[in-house]
Amino acid sequence: MSGDEINPAAVAQAVEDVQGDDRWMSQIWRELFSPLHALNFGIGGDTTCNVLWRLQNGELDNIRPKVTVVWVGTNNHEHSAEQVAGGILAIAQLLTSRLPKTKVVVLGLLARGDGPNPLREKNAAVNGFLRSWLPRLGQAQFLDVGAGFVHSDGTISTRDMFDFLHLTAAGYRAIAKPLSDLLLQILDETPEEKRASLV
């Protein structure tokens, strides 16, 4: 991205409470990796802008995770692939500046939709940008967990993504293995405090 342009995907933005019940303002807690003492700050529908806003407005104030796993970008419908990647990079940069000891793992965006479609191409392009940009950050790395979801005929099965976007239990099991392997490796390499914490 050229220096003077503002990337809208990297502009922190709270979600307007358009539905009227404030549910977005509250946290989702899911114990996917609880043996690793993990916290989950995921919110359905969030864009990179929303995640940035949350991280800048309190969610990092009271914690010192050893590892931060970032998975966002598939909902950035108004932004180009390059802008989305820029937004994710901004999140990684924010994390390394606010939490100097944290290692950042950015998960690649998954394919989506029943068959080939423009969003699959877009998400793949985002991943392409991230693969080349993230290593320059030093403390951040990219992990692609999407292998195997798209079959040879180009379809995705509802057994893996029940609505061709969100993972089933089976889908989560498939991505959990490479992710937890990497997390254990990183936590193992981290010298102090064997009692790991990860966000």
């Binding site: 019940d21 969003l119 061709f164």
Partner: protein
């Protein structure tokens, strides 16, 4: 300008598809770019061709996500249930899906309908009209089926207008089905709202969608009620 008396306006809102957008069959337009809504609909239609469900669950994300939890396998698979839930669906979307093939190949004894919480641009009266239009459609397509409408749950961490709207929808639907032999409303809220007006994220993790614990609290009585209905259907 037509002068419309209040009483007949209510009638129009409650029953006429044309003047109530919540009761007008409407497909979802693909604004994201991957056509998932239509893919899911087509998947449901073709998936039903070799199934013979006794129970069909249809509705929005609360139905769809139910299929992803263990409670489905425990309680509803044994009843030979099929799940046609789509996240985000409003009454008019469910109406379109059921009008366009999802009921074409099956004859369930009971249809469990759970929809209405996402109808954000509609009034409680319009949402009720939408739900009643679905009840009528099911009656037309499956004359022997019983429709069990589930009450729309409260939502949001603290009291808010959507809770009031949803409660009003339930009241209106309950009145509307009271005279029908083939349908009823079941309140499945086990008491999610605490005395201080709050809802716990342990029941509704984002104050809208159910946790496994929340589903257990909802589904145990639902399952018992369903079994009773199925037994009654078998006797007839």
């Amino acid at each position: 300008m037509h002068h419309i008396a209040n009483a007949s306006l209510t009638d129009k809102v409650m029953s006429s598809g044309d003047s109530n957008p919540a009761a007008t069959p409407t497909p979802c337009v693909d604004i994201q770019g991957d056509g998932r809504w239509m893919s899911l609909h087509n998947h449901f239609v073709s998936n039903s061709k070799d199934k013979e469900p006794d129970v069909l669950f249809v509705g929005d994300s609360l139905v769809q996500l139910l299929h992803q939890f263990e409670v489905w396998r425990e309680l509803f698979s044994p009843l030979h249930a099929l799940n046609f839930g789509v996240g985000g669906d409003e009454t008019q979307h469910v109406l379109w899906r059921l009008s366009n093939g999802e009921l074409a190949h099956i004859s369930p004894k009971v249809v469990v309908l759970w929809v209405g919480t996402h109808n954000h641009s509609h009034t409680a009266e319009q949402i009720c009209g939408g739900i009643m239009a679905i009840v009528q459609l099911i009656k037309d397509k499956l004359p022997k089926a019983y429709t069990l409408v589930l009450g729309v749950l409260p939502r949001g961490k603290m009291p808010n207008p959507l809770r009031e709207r949803n409660a009003q929808v339930n009241k209106l639907v309950k009145d509307a089905v009271s005279s029908l032999p083939h349908a009823s409303l079941l309140n499945v809220d086990p008491g999610f709202v605490h005395s201080d007006g709050s809802i716990s994220h342990q029941d509704l993790y984002d104050f809208l969608h159910l946790t496994p614990q929340g589903y257990q609290a909802v589904c145990q009585p639902l399952h018992a009620h369903l079994k009773g209905l199925l037994e009654k259907q078998a006797e007839n």
